[in-house]
């Protein structure tokens, strides 16, 4: 075999990895964000992968908790993973709004003592890491609102 002539196979590998390790709603958001970045920089599938590799950012317990409304993936003891937007975060539990398989939203409370890790989903990796490739002409606030 010879070298791959583009980095598209890496995008496929990334999708494979995410689909195996993340809940369906997180996968769906990941795909949408990947498409958004790909449409913005179709010449650079390698940079799409680089940005998407930073899309799930591990939350460091030393930092304040992610803001209400942030989409997170919570991993708890027993390898269960929950994905949803934060409704509340207290010393006792994190409450998120999850989308179930039928597409309906449900509220889920994950006790803090069972949480082994939290990942925040970022939708600004292109803007943060490759600002020279952003040409949508929108101010930051409008860009965030559009997503």
């Amino acid at each position: 075999m010879t070298f791959r002539e583009s980095e598209f196979p890496n995008m496929v590998s990334q999708l494979d990895l995410i689909s195996k390790n993340y809940p369906p709603d997180a996968v769906s958001r990941f795909i949408r964000e990947m498409l958004r970045i790909y449409r913005a920089i179709p010449l650079y599938p390698g940079l799409v992968c680089m940005c998407m590799g930073k899309a799930f950012e591990k939350w460091d317990p030393k930092n304040p908790p992610p803001a209400k409304g942030t989409f997170v993936v919570i991993r708890s003891k027993g390898s269960a993973a929950f994905a949803g937007t934060i409704l509340s975060w207290t010393p006792a539990a994190i409450q998120i709004e999850e989308k179930n398989a039928a597409g309906k939203t449900v509220k889920t409370k994950v006790p803090i003592r069972s949480v082994v890790g939290v990942e925040r989903f970022r939708t600004d990796t292109l803007e943060a890491f490759w600002p020279t490739l952003v040409f949508d002409g929108k101010p930051d606030a409008a860009r965030k609102a559009a997503r």
């Binding site: 002539e5 920089i41 179709p42 010449l43 650079y44 390698g46 600002p131 020279t132």
Partner: protein, 423 residues
Amino acid sequence: MQKFKSTVPIQPAAGSVYSISGPSRVRMIKGAADAVGKPIVAGDFIDIPENKKIPFEFGERSEMEIECNMPEPAERLPERTIPQSWDDLVYRIFHEHARVVVVLGEMDSGKTFFCTYLANRLFGLHRKVAVVDCDAGQSDVGPPCTFGLTHMREPLLFLHDAKVDGLYFLGSHSPGLHMVHALIGVRQLTWQALKHEATVIVDTTGWVNGDGGRMLKGAKMDILLPDIVVLLQRERELEHLVKGRPPHHIVRIKVSKKAAPTSPDVRKALRESLSTSYFKDGAMMELPLDTILTYRCYLFSGQPIVVNHPAVLWAEKLPAYEGTLLVVKKPLSDKDRAQLSQALGPALRILVSGVERGVLVGLIDEKQHCQGMGILDSFDFTARKIRLFTPVKDIRLIHGMVIGSVRYTTSGAEAGFVEPGTF
């Protein structure tokens, strides 16, 4: 010409070396120096652009004035920045009558500076020298998104001051997703230079790793069969590219400690200053839609057909399974799409009118030589015209158009990308 606030005089001693930063304007009042292999004598003026530094080696006690906006534009260096190995290579190329010299190096390894030095020194030895610049992102010879060829007519401090003797339109800042054309471009320009019996120095991109970097550099060497491959490396970071190649063709040179990294912001600014300068004398022109040839795209490559549908501006039948290409006024509704699919078959390639606006194109003459670039404004299917903004004055020379993968504003600012295959 840029106005500067202050003038700094310096009186370098014989044998001293100074690095002078831009933006600045240097006037040699007395004495003699050598800069990037170019002799500088009394009365010479040198403009050093922003983000550039040039080492001057003074052969005798000299006097200079530096106009600039910074307090200390000149830094005295403890020793020569150009190592003996560079000069040894110049003599080797000269004595061996090397025809093709490929220079490889990572990003920010000083490849263009090195190529300029080689070219100037070989020119000084009365050798015909040409430089092929195939870094379409940081172009020195020709505008961004092209590869350029120059035949040296005089020593130059910067290759961007060279006359452009050949252009190849890549259509993108990066060879990624344009591999085939990157290879065609470097081959065409190198062959063009070899016809003039020149020693050709090929300046390459800094993409040397990963599948794409390895493939591109390997293929360039396979296609050019260079007499000498120069590895500008800090350690051994390029050795993987020359494994199995004839050892006597490989010359290893240490990257200068003075080679400084350039941030993506500065790279973009440098690119945009080149494209702004390229398009500054541009004007809106029209090409005949019915006779112009288009390359690297489906559009205007098929058999025109008439489609009686209010949304359709243009239609053409493409061969075999490629289906039908339609240019439509606005995105099709599901109902319109279904109607058109029923009439024309399921394989529809839809272009929404306006998608062409801002797309960079290469303008090709009848010998398939690139005469310059343009920025598409519109396809006018009623007047049968293609409108574009271009500095190419004699539009009658243009027989074809290569569609690129980037968008620009008419002021030369980068404005986004086009997915390859869109057209």
